[in-house]
């Protein structure tokens, strides 16, 4: 067994050696339990924000803590503390085990395995070690660049964030896993004005990489250009039509459709409880032939990727829908155990202060064979939506929405006037059955997605090739 960095970090900094960890795990295990684990976290984050041409403030945060979890059947006991020492660890362990009434036949704590063996996001220097002058230089360069592009640029807000998170998981089944997770992000918001109207455009990028990647103009210039282009173009946007119509979704970020319509409904917790519109439907057709959707946490450097999930399970590529047939769920350990399935490396949590749940990583549809240009040409009348804001889903009824922030009219196979933003609404279990064309141009988003569930936010990715969907309800204002 090799000495690992996160493990050594927690031992050296907080005096949490293997013996004290096993002691706490032993306390948690004094009653009869199915699973117990300890989750340690130490995270730092730096960010700067520019507005009105200047960086008015910078900030830096340190977060640390431990969460102790005990599970018996469907029950979970959880306690966490931001004090990383042996006493608080023991107290948390005693609190968490209170859900189990029975005495144990004997503990089985034993830390012997180091999981991992790969690094999907190696960095020479943690992003939080980036000199603040470099972060300020980046947003100032973005500001100057955007303002020089077009006189209609009225205001620019640019921000960047660098994060570095170390985690360590020790579980009653022998799991001992660690991960060191860099995360960087750049956001650009442009307000354009032509005197009469004012419009906004957003774009951003990021991922699990060093900060130097963001400093490269080849990375940030296209983002800045996009934010400005969307804002300026929206100055001429027309009201969006209302009603059911053919919608062509562009590649990349419109993959948020899959996240809302399919992904959440396939999370193991909802399916174990039978509260999802997809419950009990494995093996059934839920999408048109040719539609294959996967969740893949192993893509190098992606925002949604993880070496191991927050329960220490290595991430993997999970096929959710294969050629239109529902094949799999996204699982954490508890729901996998209760459903008699294997964990899929999707047990994630916002921080030590939160319980793990099944969550997506990077969710996307595989490419088809259609030429994207042909797909657009095939539509007589409809909408072409290429950029989206957020979305939401009602897991139980299956109804989902996602809101377009850049869209165009399609008339006689040609892209027409830009349209004002509108929300699209559909039914998750059948929207993909109406996918009639799948492009060859699969793209992943630029690394800005954040998913919220039960009050917890985690970074995710999405992806999509150009697709044509029949009969999606578009929530515009024009009848």
């Amino acid at each position: 067994m090799t000495e690992s960095s996160a493990r050594g970090f927690f031992r050296d900094r907080f005096g949490l050696d293997d013996r004290s960890l096993e002691g706490a795990l032993g306390t948690a295990l004094e009653r009869r339990v199915d699973h117990a684990d300890l989750f340690f976290e130490y995270a730092s984050q730096s960010s700067v924000v520019l507005e009105e041409g200047i960086v008015k403030s910078g900030d830096r945060h340190l977060e640390q803590g431990v969460g102790v979890r005990v599970q018996v059947g469907e029950r979970t006991g959880y306690a966490h503390s931001d004090e990383l020492n042996v006493e608080s660890l023991q107290l948390a362990a005693r609190t968490a085990r209170a859900i189990s009434a029975d005495s144990a036949a004997g503990g089985n704590a034993r830390a012997a395995v180091t999981t991992g063996g790969r690094d999907l996001y190696p960095v020479a220097r943690p992003p939080t070690d980036t000199p603040v002058e470099d972060m300020i230089g980046l947003v100032e360069a973005v500001d100057a660049y955007v303002r020089s592009r077009d006189p209609r640029v009225h205001e620019v807000m640019a921000s960047c964030v660098a994060q570095h998170r170390q985690i360590l998981v020790m579980a009653s089944d022998g799991t001992l896993a660690e991960d060191v997770r860099p995360l960087v992000r750049l956001n650009v918001q442009v307000i354009a004005s032509d005197g009469a109207r004012r419009e906004v455009g957003y774009q951003g990028c990021g991922g699990r990489s060093d900060f130097e990647t963001l400093l490269d103009p080849a990375t940030w210039q296209p983002i800045a250009d996009e934010a400005a282009r969307i804002a300026i173009q929206n100055l001429g946007a027309e009201p969006c039509p209302a009603g059911s119509m053919t919608v062509v979704l562009g590649p990349g970020w419109p993959g948020i459709l899959l996240h809302e319509a399919i992904g959440h409904g396939l999370e193991g917790d909802f399916n174990r409880k039978g509260t999802s519109a997809f419950s009990g439907r494995l093996g059934e057709r839920v999408a048109a032939p040719g539609v294959t959707v996967v969740d893949d946490g192993t893509l190098p450097g992606r925002r949604g990727s993880l070496n191991v999930d927050d329960e220490g399970t290595p991430t993997q590529r999970t096929v959710l829908i294969e050629d239109g047939i529902l094949r799999g769920y996204l699982q954490d350990r508890q729901n996998a155990r209760l459903m008699g399935m294997a964990p899929t490396g999707n047990g994630r949590r916002e921080s030590y202060a939160h319980l793990p749940m099944p969550r997506m990583t990077n969710t996307f549809m595989l490419a088809g064979e259609d030429d994207p240009e042909d797909i657009l040409r095939s539509v007589d009348r409809g909408i072409y939506a290429v950029h989206f804001g957020g979305g939401q889903v009602d897991i139980t009824s299956g109804k989902f929405v996602f809101s377009a922030s850049e869209a165009y009219r399609i008339e006689n196979g040609r892209i027409g006037a830009p349209l004002k933003g509108a929300t699209l609404i559909g039914n998750g279990p059948d929207v993909l059955t109406r996918v009639s064309r799948i492009g060859s141009d699969l793209a992943l988003d630029r690394g800005v997605g954040t998913c919220g569930k039960d009050g917890q936010s985690v970074p995710v990715g999405v992806g999509l090739p150009t697709i044509r969907v029949e009969e999606l309800t578009v929530g515009g204002t024009e009848g």
Partner: protein
């Protein structure tokens, strides 16, 4: 009276925050800051969920954070930066303060930045806002599990079509906040928040539907009985069974108190001083103009006893006060902290929000629409054809242009009566027109969060559904 004397009589949890804040201010000055402020927050919470007859989870937590803002004066303005930590050891607090001072030297000089000049609250005469009942400190996991269990049983007992649930959840949290600055202000307060929430599922024609009901308060005794919460949640889920889209049309839309509150949350963003000076709100520059119908009186009141957003002083130490935002449709005030007020040439109205890890911002406290007359039933009876909206999903709102388009579920109204449940539709309009189009406000003001509203009707919106 010195700060130290003032702290006498505080419990240990409060003095830990006062001490850490004092060390942080001193360390920031030693590290070269010309001024500084510090925010300490500590909380203890219990949260549990019961699903069916089983406990789903029990969670207990204790968290603390200290944030320090260092301000460094230059010839053209003030530079600032923030640093925060969960480590309250003296060395860690000193390190974080020094880090804020170092970071501040790298940022730009801003003539509008800095502490308020004067007018701080009197720490010895803070109003008692009834934010905590000491007797509730005795509540424990068993009590909360029992409350959740009673709500869950009540929900499942309403009707055989209530077949499942996402569970019933009970929580109790106690927090302490301290704010101190280098101008000599230091004060703190304690508060509590208790909630009970139930989310059952109904099965029937057309599949499954979920809905929820909840009760939230500063004191446990204020909460609705668990049985009522469970039963009401179940009734709400049952009434959604058989929901379907309606044909695309333009009709009056009635918002119930919960969905109507979401409109005022959006207004809070639109009148936020930061959105105003940045020009990211279509209400920017509209002070004194008519921006809504005569029926709209919108008030923010941080001094509401027991209010979920109540506080004796704001995030910069200024005494809280009631502010009328919109009176008879006329925009009277923005929500302002010191910085956004200076940017706009106005005075702060003590609406600074603050968390340990961020610079002051502006925001609402207890925001509500003054009730009108008549009930929701009267409003429905007065609507020949339209949609009653009971749930909104998605984030389809552009504050710069006012374009509004969200997913909706509710009940269709025909000839002044509720007919069938509706889902998979969107409602859309320009938000400026929606505010002007509010033609009726009912009397059923309901506080389930710090933003509250009675039911109201918007005269005309596009409902998009079937072709």
């Amino acid at each position: 009276m010195s700060q130290r004397e003032r702290r006498r009589g505080r419990n240990q949890g409060m003095s830990e925050l006062f001490d850490a804040a004092a060390i942080a201010l001193e360390a920031a000055r030693e590290a070269g800051a010309d001024a500084a402020d510090a925010v300490g927050v500590a909380s203890d919470s219990i949260e549990t969920r019961v699903r069916g007859e089983e406990i789903d989870f029990v969670k207990q937590a204790r968290q603390r954070t200290l944030g320090v803002r260092a301000l460094v004066r230059g010839p053209e303005g003030v530079r600032q930066a923030i640093a925060s930590t969960a480590d309250f050891a003296e060395a860690a607090v000193r390190a974080v303060a020094a880090e804020a001072a170092t970071l501040a030297r790298a940022t730009a000089q801003d003539p509008a930045a800095g502490l308020p000049e004067a007018g701080f609250a009197d720490p010895d005469a803070l109003p008692d806002l009834a934010l905590l009942d000491p007797a509730d400190r005795g509540t424990g996991v068993e009590d909360r599990v029992e409350a959740a269990r009673r709500a869950e049983r009540a929900a499942r007992a309403v009707d055989p079509r209530i077949t499942n649930s996402e569970g019933s959840q009970a929580s109790s949290g106690f927090s302490r906040v301290v704010y101190a600055n280098s101008a000599g202000f230091a004060a703190g307060y304690e508060s509590a928040s208790h909630a009970l929430f139930s989310e059952p599922l109904a099965s029937g024609e057309g599949g499954m539907q979920r809905d929820y009901w909840m009760s939230v308060g500063r004191r446990l005794a204020e909460l609705e009985a668990p049985e009522r919460i469970g039963a009401r949640a179940a009734e709400r889920a049952l009434r959604r069974l058989g929901a379907k889209p309606v044909p695309t049309c333009e009709v009056p839309v009635i918002f119930d108190p919960l969905t109507a509150a979401s409109l005022w949350r959006q207004v809070a963003g639109l009148v936020n001083g930061y959105s105003v000076y940045r020009g990211t709100s279509f209400l920017a520059g509209k002070l004194g103009e008519t921006v809504a119908s005569q029926a709209v009186h919108l008030v923010d009141d941080p001094l509401r006893p027991g209010g979920l957003g109540s506080r004796p002083f704001d995030g910069e130490g200024l005494p809280s006060r009631r502010t009328v935002l919109i009176e008879k449709g006329r925009l009277e005030s923005y929500l302002l902290d010191t910085y956004s007020a200076r940017k706009l040439g106005l005075a702060s109205n003590a609406h600074a929000t603050r968390s340990a890890g961020s610079a002051p911002g502006a925001g609402a406290t207890n925001l509500f629409l003054e009730p009108g007359q008549g009930s929701l039933e009267d409003l429905i009876a007065d609507t020949p054809r339209g949609l009653l909206v009971t749930e909104l999903i998605g984030m389809g709102f552009n504050p710069v242009t006012g374009d509004y388009s969200r997913g909706a579920a509710g009940i269709w109204i025909e000839n002044g009566a509720l007919t069938h449940p509706v889902e998979e539709v969107t409602i859309a309009a320009n938000f400026a027109d929606m505010l002007q189009g509010i033609d009726a406000v009912a009397d059923d003001l309901l506080w389930l969060s710090s933003v509250a509203s009675p039911s109201l009707r918007v005269a005309r919106m596009t409902v998009a559904g079937e072709a």
